[in-house]
């Protein structure tokens, strides 16, 4: 009985400790940029949910595709209807790890290089993504920044024939998130 109580207390304390290592946000920013022959395409999403478990390195972000904002309404329509088909595939997510999490001291202010490795799902297709970024620890917050490039064909996103030569076949993705310690 006494042993069981001790185990329960230990598990509770460990759970609390693990919880204290989690950093979250729901207002992360993802930008995508495509520099085509005729036109540059840029869109922003500032409603990105993200979580980093600083104890294990698990790193997740989720984004709703309809939340990407374009300067031009027509581009936004085409993005949702013809490219990512957001009615059919409403969200995109990344599930992976910061593989060098042990080198990031979340208790000490400073800038740390981060190596991120995981699986990105977009348009119903999941591919491996590996990139480098930074985490800046500042007053208990983690500011994460990373850039990577995806090829539209890898996610079975087809460019309509009429504009195939004027739109880039790759898209640069920039991630900029400020994570707060979870309660």
């Amino acid at each position: 009985m006494r042993t069981n109580s001790l185990i329960l207390i230990l598990v509770t304390l460990l759970s609390f400790s693990a919880g204290a290592q989690k950093f979250i946000t729901k207002t992360g920013h993802i930008k995508f940029y495509s520099d085509g022959a005729v036109e540059k395409i840029e869109a922003h999403n500032r409603q990105v949910s993200s979580m980093l478990d600083a104890a294990t390195g698990q790193f997740v972000f989720k984004v709703l595709l309809k939340s990407f904002e374009f300067e031009k309404a027509l581009m936004q329509e085409h993005f949702n209807e013809n490219y990512v088909e957001s009615d059919k595939f409403p969200d995109s997510k990344f599930i992976g790890n910061v593989t060098n999490i042990k080198e990031i001291n979340v208790a000490k202010d400073g800038s740390y290089d981060a190596q991120v490795d995981g699986m990105l799902t977009l348009h119903g297709v999941t591919n491996h993504v590996k990139t480098k970024g930074t985490f800046e620890v500042k007053q208990g917050k983690l500011v994460g920044k990373a850039k990577f490039t995806i090829t539209l064909a890898d996610y079975k996103i087809t460019i309509p024939g009429a504009v195939v030569n004027s739109i880039s076949k790759t898209v640069d993705i920039s991630v900029d998130i400020t994570l707060d310690k979870a309660n």
């Binding site: 979250i24 729901k26 409603q47 309809k66 409403p90």
Partner: protein
């Protein structure tokens, strides 16, 4: 001026005008005036949240991309940079509080910041979908000021 030249000139003028109209009203058309859109649905926040939790696919088909008015007890107001978000909280999960998150049109930021937690509020906006944690509303305005 010869007749064929007149026709050609006329066609060029018509083509130019058509091109300008396409540029203005199609290629360069403005985003909708979100504040003036009439809601397609009016729902209680709890009902909408439960609808997505119990049937994500069906609710996504029904609600995503639509202007919806929702009424419920406000959980909190979050302010990050120029984004002000009214949050209706129903659960706890991987990303903390879970519920309905309504990002305001900038014009309504100051009004939203004055809303009190636990107060009943009616907000309308565009339902962007459910990310398995939250239902995201964007371009929101406060209806019952």
């Amino acid at each position: 001026m010869k007749t064929w030249m007149k026709i050609l000139l006329g066609l060029i003028v018509v083509g130019l005008i058509a091109g300008m109209l396409v540029f203005k009203f199609v290629y360069n058309k403005k985003h909708p005036d979100y504040e003036s859109i009439t809601p397609v649905f009016t729902l209680k926040t709890q009902d909408l949240y439960q609808a997505f939790k119990s049937n994500k696919a069906g609710s996504s088909t029904l609600y995503n991309g639509k202007c919806i008015a929702i009424t419920g007890k406000l959980g909190k107001i979050e302010s990050v940079d120029t984004l002000v978000t009214a949050v209706f909280v129903f659960n706890q999960g991987m990303f903390g509080d879970e519920g309905i998150r309504c990002t305001m049109i900038k014009k309504f930021n100051d009004t939203a910041k004055k809303l009190l937690p636990d107060g009943e509020v009616k907000i309308k906006g565009i339902c962007m979908g459910f990310n398995d944690s939250d239902i995201i509303f964007d371009k929101c305005s406060i209806v019952n000021q």
